[in-house]
Symmetry: C2
Subunit: 300 residues, 2 copies
Amino acid sequence: MHNDSGRRQFLTTLTKAAGVSLLIDTPFMSQASPGHAAPMTVGQVMDLILKKIPDAPFPKTVDTLKSGSASQTVTGIITTMFTTMDVIEKAIAAKANFIIAHEPTFYNHADETDWLKNDAVFQKKQALLDKHNIAVWRFHDYWHAHQPDGIYTGMLSALSWEKYVDKNDPRLLIMPATPLHQIITHAKQKLGIKQVRIVGDRNQSCQRVLLMPGASGGRNQIAAIERTKPDVILCGEVSEWETPEYVRDARQQGAKLSLVVLGHVLSEAAGMEWLVSWLKPQLPGMPISYVPSENPFSYE
Amino acid sequence: MHNDSGRRQFLTTLTKAAGVSLLIDTPFMSQASPGHAAPMTVGQVMDLILKKIPDAPFPKTVDTLKSGSASQTVTGIITTMFTTMDVIEKAIAAKANFIIAHEPTFYNHADETDWLKNDAVFQKKQALLDKHNIAVWRFHDYWHAHQPDGIYTGMLSALSWEKYVDKNDPRLLIMPATPLHQIITHAKQKLGIKQVRIVGDRNQSCQRVLLMPGASGGRNQIAAIERTKPDVILCGEVSEWETPEYVRDARQQGAKLSLVVLGHVLSEAAGMEWLVSWLKPQLPGMPISYVPSENPFSYE
């Protein structure tokens, strides 16, 4: 288990701020006020959410139902980064049958499953979802397309960095000159991260911080570096032959540029936590909770 | 700098074994015996190599010339994982004008450069290559297609694991029951790795070890897990939404399966080192040396 005091603190703050009640890891049906609202189907919840997303529904998106059906009545909603086996078990224990997850369920971006038909891990996961009639909706493209980007908003809040957002480019933060190691310590503490990977100099003084949660891809990361000219880019995940090599070359050319890889899950998780406070006022009486899927890695 | 005593030891062993002379980080023109062999062009060296690769040349491959021309006369060859700025400077210092690199030069798999036309890092790198007339050839698909796979052979040798190769599946190693933490310590020491990421249990006893250097992709990694039923998969790089989540789900279902992510560069580097001993007997008199591009990351 990572040290998640930072996360918990954020959660408490967020809970207070939004005036909602969140209980993690405990069944939350008691929170519901059955009868206060008419029963809603998965499809109705999706429609309600999509009304708040510019240009939704998108003709092409990975944000599809991965299990369950749009016509089933929702007994409770869980938001998370990954629909892991553990998250599914927690949903079942909480009697919640609708999981809204930021990332794929079946180990590939498009959640294609033909190649997994005979795979025991896939079969057991799908059987568990089927047995308990759990609907899983990926909420990735839409949440990023929300104005403002739902993931980014949650991350800024968790990091207490809203005040640094550049007016011309919301991905760029302009902060008082800070040694990189202090920025790293802050991010690790606030996000509950155990370990980051760095290309650069931990003593470098940084004012311009480019924050790119998740795995935006090398071209997007490099284009954003060109555009914003940061001292450091913080991102969730990289392909090692892309941004890390670009930053290494830039540094060997004399540029003052560092890269910090936060890890994918914890670079975006606060955005799926923030989704709860965004959803609650729109679904009065509906039990909604965030269940962390946690960073899967240990380090040695 | 990482502790690379393991690498150096391997290099010494390999050098002795192959009866070749390798000097790293020093100009090596003195090793050459000019006049012993006729001058060769880049294209002639490429042709000579491709004759040893089954079905080469491939109609579609990323293994193209990234700079320089096939018609230039080779003054010396350097093999490496990444053509970093530092590796280019070392090639120039060594008066070697032909770099054979396993990975891309310009931060994307296909080495497309249109999107980088106005990028200062790209411009400076290309200008340095042009100024010194350095040819860069990517040697990825072909080296993996060599029988046996050149990268895999070099890695097996560096790890002293040849004796464990399964007769039915060369990617699978069957070793005496060993706690995972001992396997990790061995790999770190032999390959000069500072830090690995683990999904699993460091105390798990392992006999079946699936070794997949580089970034083979989630589908290939998962398909190999299905095929070989390993206790642990060691790989170079992963996308976090693919193999790590598969292994996490498998473990939460009760399977005895761990994942160790070695890091891309050092999971394949010994294979580019081995290329030197493979090339030397075929190019008598040609100065050929391996220059490590090193793992770019530090950890905090």
